[in-house]
Structures are given as structure tokens and as C-alpha cells.
Symmetry: C2
């Protein structure tokens, strides 16, 4: 059973998960042509994963067999586990709890595709629906308070398998970085009575120079204080604190927006490693006026060095205005893609 331990000085939680060390690392430095090696995520390899939690499947196909389009399974080397009661205890000045939670893998397609940008718009939409469905389901569990959906692509971004997939980690405490965002936006709201993300949307529209893409329901921009070259945020225009409360028309549009942005990044940066994370509110809060869900995409062109670790200060050599100008110019055709 993994263990959650809290740093007594800054309140940062660490998951000590010895079983994670056993996971296979099959990714290569240079991704090889699709399908050359065995991949447990490809159709036909269902017995190599844990039993599925959810799958979007063709009619008349059975769980854990062929016929699925998107499939969710428990991570075989989980950072947190769903079984058991939540025990919290102290150890002198230290605090710890057992690692109750969930760690799921969203396998995004049955064929061996390494890039989400190569999937069709419809496919990307289905993946976004799966994210929503899993959050809605997991928030029923009273032990759990936060669900984080993220994607690691490429070795430099921490991926260990190349088949296109994302992950969901659900935790029994609100992670410290999420607290910081909730608190920071709450403070702004207390002072000005407005959502800071809504204000950012207005200011980015007025300034124009950091905008990458502007659609009826979304604005995509390089944030003013970008930590990484070509960091890109996708922010819904309608205020909404919880991703799982997204409207159908928004979600459909987001499929196209996400595919567009990933295609632009792949062309601009020649298939970079990247992470994306959906930032959303904790399970236990109702819709709140100060927080605004969004997706942050972070290409991993540079390595994080000692200075960044120690200070929380990032050094970014590409001004976001330049990155946005570049990405705006990259033309892409989203009508294709594997279905």
C-alpha cells in the first residue's frame, strides 16, 4: 500500500509508492514506427491490462475484449490504491496517511498511435467525454477529494509507454498547488468581486499579442508568466469552476480546439515532449465564482534545473508573445486524423 507523507515545513505531500519502481519502461528516446514492438495498450492486448473500469465500445462487444474505442483501466503500478479505509496518523512531528485514491489510465485508441494530434476531432471529443465521465463517477466516493487528469507525452515529459494515453489520479487531500490556485483566485475575488481567469480572458483579448486561437467558446493563449517555452492554456469563455460540468457544445468545440493546438505545437516544435493537465476544482466544492477550470499544456523543451526546484522561479527563454505569434501562423487542417 502506498503511503502519503507530508513535508512538515511547507505542507507538500509526497506519495511513497515502492511498487512504482517495478513498472516497465518501453518508451524509446526516438519513437519507432508505430506497432513495431509489443504494446499492452493495443487492441488484442486486453489481458495485459487490469480489468476495464469504463470503455466506449461497439454494440455487442464484451468488456476486456476487442471492439472498444477508448478504454479506462486501473494503472497496474498505481501511485494510489482504491481499496481500504482512509487512515491518518502522526509520527512525531510528521503526518502520514495510507495511499487511498485511484490511479487510472485512459487508453485513447485501440490502434498504436503515439500522438493524440493524429486522432480525428471526433476521437479527441470522445476522450474528453471519458475524462468527464470518470470525474463524475469518482466524486461519489466520499474518501476522495480531488481528481487530476493529465497526459505525459515523450520521455522528457515522464511518459513510460508511447501508445497515446492519459491518466487520472484521484487523491484523498487537495494537492498543494491546487490549494494555491484556489486561494489565489479566492483572494482576487474577495478584493475585486470578479473571477481572475475571466479577467485574464478580457485582458488577453484586449492585448491580442499572446492569443493563439479564439473560438466561440474558448480562448487559447500563451500565459503572461509562461514557465516554459510555448506554454499554452486553453480557457473556456463561460465561467465554470468544474470541468465535469462542461456543456455538450463546449466539449464538442474543445475537441477541435485541443486537436488544433496539439497539431500546431507538433509542427512548431517538431513533435515535442509535453504534459497537459486539466486544472479544475476539488470534488467537495459546489460551483464557485472565483475558480475557472482550464487546461495547461507544457512543452518540455528544456530541463528543469536546480534553480527552478529551489525557488519556484522558472527561467523561460521564449517570451510568450513570440511563442503565440509563431503558433498563430502555423496553419493546420483538423479535418483528417485516425478514426
Amino acid at each position: 500500500m502506498p503511503e502519503l507523507r507530508k513535508d512538515p515545513i511547507v505542507g507538500r505531500w509526497v506519495i511513497i509508492a515502492p511498487d512504482r519502481a517495478k513498472r516497465p519502461i518501453t518508451i524509446k528516446n526516438e519513437p519507432s514506427p508505430a506497432g513495431s514492438d509489443f504494446c499492452p495498450f493495443c487492441e488484442g492486448g486486453e489481458e495485459h491490462t487490469s480489468s476495464e473500469i469504463l470503455a466506449y465500445r461497439d454494440r455487442n462487444t464484451k468488456p476486456n475484449e476487442k471492439g472498444w474505442r477508448v478504454r479506462v483501466v486501473p494503472n497496474r503500478f498505481p501511485a494510489l490504491q482504491v481499496e481500504g479505509a482512509l487512515d491518518k496518523c502522526g509520527e512525531g512531528i510528521y503526518d502520514k496517511m495510507n495511499g487511498i485514491g485511484a490511479h487510472e489510465v485512459i487508453i485513447e485508441c485501440p490502434f498504436h498511435e503515439v500522438s493524440m494530434a493524429n486522432l480525428s476531432e471526433e476521437y479527441v471529443r470522445e476522450i474528453l467525454w471519458v475524462y468527464r465521465d470518470r470525474l463524475v463517477d469518482l466524486k461519489k466516493d466520499r474518501r476522495l477529494v480531488y481528481g487530476m487528469i493529465f497526459k505525459n507525452v515523450g520521455m522528457a515529459a515522464g511518459a513510460s509507454l508511447e501508445h497515446s494515453h492519459s491518466q487520472l489520479i484521484v487523491t484523498p487531500i487537495v494537492p498543494v498547488n491546487v490549494w494555491e490556485e484556489m486561494n489565489g483566485s479566492q483572494e482576487f475575488f474577495n478584493y475585486r468581486g470578479r473571477c481572475i481567469y475571466c479577467d485574464m480572458i478580457h485582458q488577453e483579448h484586449a492585448a491580442e499579442k499572446r492569443i493563439v486561437l479564439d473560438t466561440p467558446n474558448f480562448v487559447v493563449f500563451a500565459p503572461f508568466a509562461s514557465r516554459f517555452p510555448f506554454e499554452t492554456w486553453i480557457v473556456p469563455k463561460n465561467h465554470n469552476s468544474h470541468y465535469e460540468n462542461i456543456q455538450k457544445n463546449e466539449l464538442d468545440e474543445m475537441g477541435t480546439v485541443l486537436k488544433t493546438v496539439l497539431m500546431k505545437l507538433e509542427i512548431a516544435l517538431d513533435k515535442p515532449s509535453y504534459n497537459y493537465i486539466i486544472h479544475t476544482s476539488p470534488f467537495d466544492s459546489q460551483a464557485v465564482p472565483h475558480y475557472h477550470w482550464h487546461m495547461e499544456i507544457m512543452p518540455r523543451m528544456t530541463r528543469i534545473a536546480g534553480f527552478e526546484w529551489g525557488t519556484g522561479f522558472y527561467i523561460n527563454s521564449v517570451p510568450p508573445e513570440q511563442a503565440a505569434a509563431y503558433l498563430r501562423e502555423v496553419e493546420v487542417d483538423v479535418s483528417g486524423g485516425r478514426k
Copy 2:
């Protein structure tokens, strides 16, 4: 001129430094035998660096010529620059300031040695003295409030040159992670009237299982909430909030302690990439009872993935108790090393 920009939500500062993209990357994935390629940090290459700020030199040798043992030069591709007045201004809801500060490189030896662990104890001591001397000098500048000394070793830790060196970045604001440590330890002090680091030393002594090394003036341990496999902290036993106030006998001992720990890590992990950072108090505070300087060493065996970025939660597959037990057993002889 680099620019400092503040994230309006969480208060994180980012340095936008376009010139940094121009720096040369000469490090190899597999470090080659010493001295095979041109290195601007080797003796004889003084004209390839900026003019020296400080050097420990043999008598009768001149600045920027041969004859030095440890040499400090401005970083040629600085994240922050020392010239100019500090201008702060807003841009709508955003805050920014010009990138006033200092970014120095401490070249640790004139010969092409890639590992500090291969230097003699006396050499390591001299480097630790240089750290102190630079902090004492820079804190005279009223525009500057924080000095961070850190070391990146190996590509995975963000190093771009392999010749053994460390860096010093001095900033016009206190970095957010430092604030968190100062505030967290202040809260503990307000509540219990004791320094939390002093308490940690007591608890680690009592528990024993996370201790790597115990000397008259230092305790070295794997912290309870280790973020990384084999994360190791060197903590002075005497309460002292500022590294630059270290006593001579402590500093001499720390040379031996640091060399010992680095040798142990190199043997245990087969010359890992790593970062170390000296955590110390801001320039503008007097000696404070709640904060306690220390050094954090973070081997970089794993990559940081999306989950860690989004949450501030780390997943560590090696319990610190196991790491400490392993490191305790590794026997090293510190009497050798290049002089």
C-alpha cells in the same frame, strides 16, 4: 534585459530571458573522458569567460590569468543582470519588473574534473568558502534580497557544461518556495516556540532509520517526505538561519561531509545526475529563530511528469528509510581526491 513576470493567480515569478536560448550546450549524454573537448572553464581558457569577480589564487598571479583554484565569473547567458535600477510596473492585472539581479558561475577547479566528489576535502572546503564570500558581498546591494546557491550535475539535472561548477542567482524578490519555507517554519515557531528543523534533527536522531551520516556538527538524513529517490539533506546541528554566518569549524567539517555524501551517492547510484541547493534566509532578515539553513541534494533518477507539475505532489518509489540504509552501508575513503 531579462524581465521578471508574476503569475497573477499563485504569485509565482518567472524570468523571461531570451538571451539564455543562445547559450552553448556542450554536455554529452555520456560524459566523455576528461579533457577531450574544448572547455571554457579549464585553466588557460580564462579569456572565454567574463572577467572574474573573485578567485582564490596563488600569490603573484593576476586576475583572469592562470594560477587560480576556484574562480567566480558572471554567467555569460544570465537569467538576471546586475546593471540598472529596479523598475516595477503593472500591465493590466499583471505585474512585472526588470530582471535586476546577479547570475554567477563558481568554477570549482582549473582542471577538467566533472565530479566534485573527486576533489579533495580541502578543495570542497574552498568552494564552500567561496559560496559564503559571494553571499556576504552581494547582500550589500540593497536592490537584492535573496541569494540562491545551487549545483546542476548531468544533463538530467539541467547542466549544460560538464566541468564541475555551481551557480549563484541573486534576485530582487524572495522566491515563492523560499517564502513557503520561511512561513511554514515561522508558523511552527509561533505555535511551539521551537525551530522545526531543530525538532527534525531530534526526531531523526531518535528514529535513526533515515540517518545517513552523523558528525559533531552535521546530521545527514533522507527526509521523511522525500520527493526523489535518495534525496539527502545536510543539516547543521547548531541553529543558524543564514549560511553565510557559518563558523569556520563547521565549514571545515562540511567540506568532509559533502564529499562523503557525494561519494556515497556516486557509488550507490552509479554517478547520477543531481542538483543541490543551499536553502538559507533572505538577505534582509537578521538571524531568525525559526529558520535553519541546510543543503538539499536531489538525485535525478526519474523524470518529473505531468502529475507532479500540476499538483506539487511527488511520487517517489524509494522509501527514504531504504535509501538511508543503503547509503549508510556504502563505505568511502575521503582522504584522496584531486588537489
